[in-house]
């Protein structure tokens, strides 16, 4: 236990800002998960691995001398097709089955992706340097790498674009209709198969954006996907499906929580604290549900 974070107010500010910037990035991944969970009722365990794959796309651009920030445009484009392909190959076979089967299927995809990435890109930890420099605040007591600010900014832009797209476009409306009631949407002429494919593609594209941003701000490695899956799962659980502001808020909340856990409990408990929080929230939810049931009785 270390309470330094409370003794120095500047560290608290640093932790909050770091957490919020990080949380926005998590929220973007969680948004994709919420979308396809809501529409297709699939919990995608391979979410984090799609993120890492997106990161590798940006990294390879960086290797060939292109600025990795362009990965934010290229990576979702490629990842969209990866997502659609994945849907056509595997996901469409499990989409109407129960949740357990889809979890198994995506878990398998996750393992396959990890091994393939390891095979194709090697087990080295890699990163792409953006060379964006640093912002100093409060008499340089608080430092924010510009790459983190950049990734938060890009995440917000993509999230806003997606919200508008969902509201205004024909496909967006079809996706929302399918999410509300797939059968009714089908009867009214929505090609749900196409909607599912597009949803999975959009989710993968969001992962692609997030991955490119992670390769700029952190490091990527074939086996690093799972923590991102857990975090987005957690955010969606807290926020609920189809609750967009909720996803953004709980994303930032999780980011700040993680940073503080890092300072207070130590870095080794960072991911552990996320798991703990997840368990607590699930227990709390159950508790609330059981209360409701009693009430009904």
């Amino acid at each position: 236990m270390d309470f330094m974070v409370f003794q120095y107010p500047m560290i608290s500010i640093q932790a909050c800002l770091d957490g919020i910037l990080l949380g926005i990035l998590f929220a973007l991944i969680a948004y994709g998960m919420a979308l396809q969970w809501g529409v297709m009722n699939i919990i995608n365990i391979a979410q984090g691995d799609l993120v890492i794959l997106g990161g590798y796309i940006a990294y390879f651009m960086y290797l060939y001398g292109i600025h990795p920030a362009w990965g934010v445009i290229v990576s979702p484009f490629i990842m969209y097709f990866v997502g659609v392909g994945l849907y056509k190959l595997v996901i469409n076979k499990v989409v109407d089955r129960d949740l357990f089967i889809s979890i198994l299927a995506t878990f398998g995809i996750s393992i396959l992706f990890m091994q393939l990435m390891n095979f194709a890109f090697g087990a080295d930890v890699v990163l792409a340097n953006s060379g964006y420099g640093t912002t100093f605040l409060f008499d340089s007591n608080v430092v924010l790498p510009n790459s983190k600010i950049f990734s938060a900014f890009v995440s917000i832009v993509f999230a806003i674009c997606l919200v508008i797209y969902m509201k205004k476009s024909k496909l967006g409306r079809a996706i929302r209709a399918t999410a509300q009631n797939a059968r009714a949407a089908k009867i009214l002429g929505v090609d749900t198969e196409k909607v599912y494919a597009a949803t999975f593609g959009i989710n993968a594209a969001l992962c692609g954006v997030a991955g490119a941003l992670i390769s700029i701000t952190f490091t990527i490695h074939p086996y690093m996907g799972l923590p991102y899956t857990i975090r987005s799962f957690m955010i969606v659980i807290v926020a609920g499906l189809g609750n967009l502001p909720g996803v953004a808020l709980s994303g930032m909340g999780l980011g700040v929580f993680e940073e503080f856990a890092d300072y207070i409990l130590g870095t080794e408990f960072r991911i552990g604290s996320v798991f703990l929080l997840l368990v607590l929230i699930l227990v709390y939810r159950r508790f609330k549900l059981s209360k409701k049931r009693e009430y009904l009785k």
Binding site: N118, D124, L127, N129, V143, F218, H221, T267
Partner: protein, 412 residues
């Protein structure tokens, strides 16, 4: 149709049976000494696993082409059976079992990493199979009383010991304030124990003592503390990702610290990935090509570097060099034992006292190599931005002067 299927099944079963029985090697087949090795060709250690395998292969090729091994007036050649342990300790232990009981190998080479070596050592010990390993440095390997385990490398607790002692020396013999962040794995925790010992010896104080998680990719919290507390030395050990993450975030957050010491910079190819940002970092290394050790097979470090690069297309990290040294040790032990009796070879290994291009090798009773010190190199860049690793400590081999304290970011 049905009969055809049955025939196909029968024939393939027969071939399978035949192929497995042919592959049952004995320890010495004709003029070949067969060694067994499980290395990580896939999984998270696969890059260093491949370095290990390349190091072994290079030495096998060299020893065989230079006359092989002379035992009992007859010349033998080395051959290695490899298996992929998938970077998984359980698998490594299974493979050790398989190599010994099915493939009948009687001598083993080590895998990559302390964790996997730890998994295999009890098996080789049980069967009394001598194992020379080159990539497991964890101190706990050498405190279990293993009789058949020999490591050509210096144990993990000595990795960054030199750095602390150098810092104290530069501080006029007075203790320094140390900040440290270590991953929670066997190896890094041993490095940490070494630092604790060194701190105690020198009267230094540890003011930050962070543990890093396995899935580390953000150590901003530690660095913020470092910024506030201003230690004299920052020590980071968390394999490749620790080294890469530390350099990235130190540069981004402009953390000024007079000395930064790390492990695994070689494998992280720091200067290649980070360019000038990695400048002045101190790295612990088992070996560096400019060291002046010599032997008759590889001549010296520079020649090894050149030959390895020619053979595999990349410069050898120390993981490859130490792996090559393991075979030199085996050759030497076989010739001195003048026998293939496992006990005799084991005793000969225990009595090893030789110099290789990689360093002097002499085993302590625990099996660790005690006669080869660690070296520290510093990443030094010239004005054109080209960076190089230069040995700065111990002074005997220094090819450049240590730059200390590290210039502040505002002055770079």
């Amino acid at each position: 149709m049905k009969i055809k299927n049955i025939i196909i099944t029968f024939v393939s079963a027969l071939t399978l049976l035949l192929s497995t029985s042919i592959v049952s090697f004995a320890k010495v087949v004709g003029d070949k000494i067969v060694l067994g090795a499980a290395v990580s060709l896939t999984g998270k250690y696969s890059s260093n696993g491949v370095h290990t395998q390349n190091g072994y292969n290079m030495a096998v090729e060299r020893i065989n082409s230079m006359g092989g091994i002379k035992v009992g007036g007859k010349t033998y050649k080395f051959e290695i059976i490899y298996y992929d342990d998938e970077s998984n300790p359980k698998r490594a232990a299974q493979l050790a079992e398989r190599l010994i009981s099915q493939d009948k190998v009687e001598f083993m080479l080590g895998p990559y990493s302390s964790g996997l070596t730890k998994a295999m050592a009890p098996v080789t010990e049980k069967y009394g199979v001598p194992m020379v390993e080159a990539n497991g440095a964890s101190r706990s390997l050498f405190t279990k009383g293993y009789k058949y385990l020999f490591a050509v490398l210096a144990p993990a607790n000595l990795y960054l010991d030199v750095a602390i002692r150098t810092a104290v020396e530069l501080n006029g013999g007075k203790g320094v304030r140390i900040a440290q962040a270590f991953e929670q794995d066997a190896f890094s925790q041993d490095v940490r124990l070494g630092i604790l010992d060194a701190a105690k010896d020198t009267g230094s104080e540890i003011i930050i003592d962070d543990k890093l998680p396995k899935e580390l990719n953000d150590m901003a919290a530690t660095l913020v503390k470092v910024k506030q507390m201003k230690p004299d030395v920052l020590v980071v050990s968390g394999h490749t990702k620790g080294a890469l993450t530390a350099i990235r975030q130190i540069a981004e957050m402009k953390v000024d610290v007079p000395m930064l010491a790390m492990t695994h910079c070689d494998a992280a190819k720091l200067s290649k990935q980070h360019g000038k940002n990695s400048q002045y970092a101190l790295c612990a290394s088992q070996w560096h090509k400019t060291l002046t050790y010599k032997d008759k097979w590889f001549k010296d470090g520079m020649t090894y570097d050149a030959d390895f690069t020619k053979m595999f297309g990349y410069a050898p990290p120390y993981q490859a060099a130490e792996s090559s040294a393991a075979l030199l040790v085996f050759k030497d032990a076989f010739e001195r034992a003048n026998s293939f009796d496992q006990k005799k070879v084991r005793d000969a290994l225990a009595a090893t006292d030789m110099q290789t291009f990689y360093g002097n090798i002499k085993f302590a009773p625990g099996g660790q190599n005690v006669s080869k010190p660690m070296v520290l190199f510093q990443v030094i860049c010239d004005s054109s931005g080209k960076c190089e690793n230069k040995v700065v400590a111990p002074l005997k081999w220094a090819s450049a002067k240590l730059i200390h304290p590290v210039p502040k970011w505002s002055e770079r």
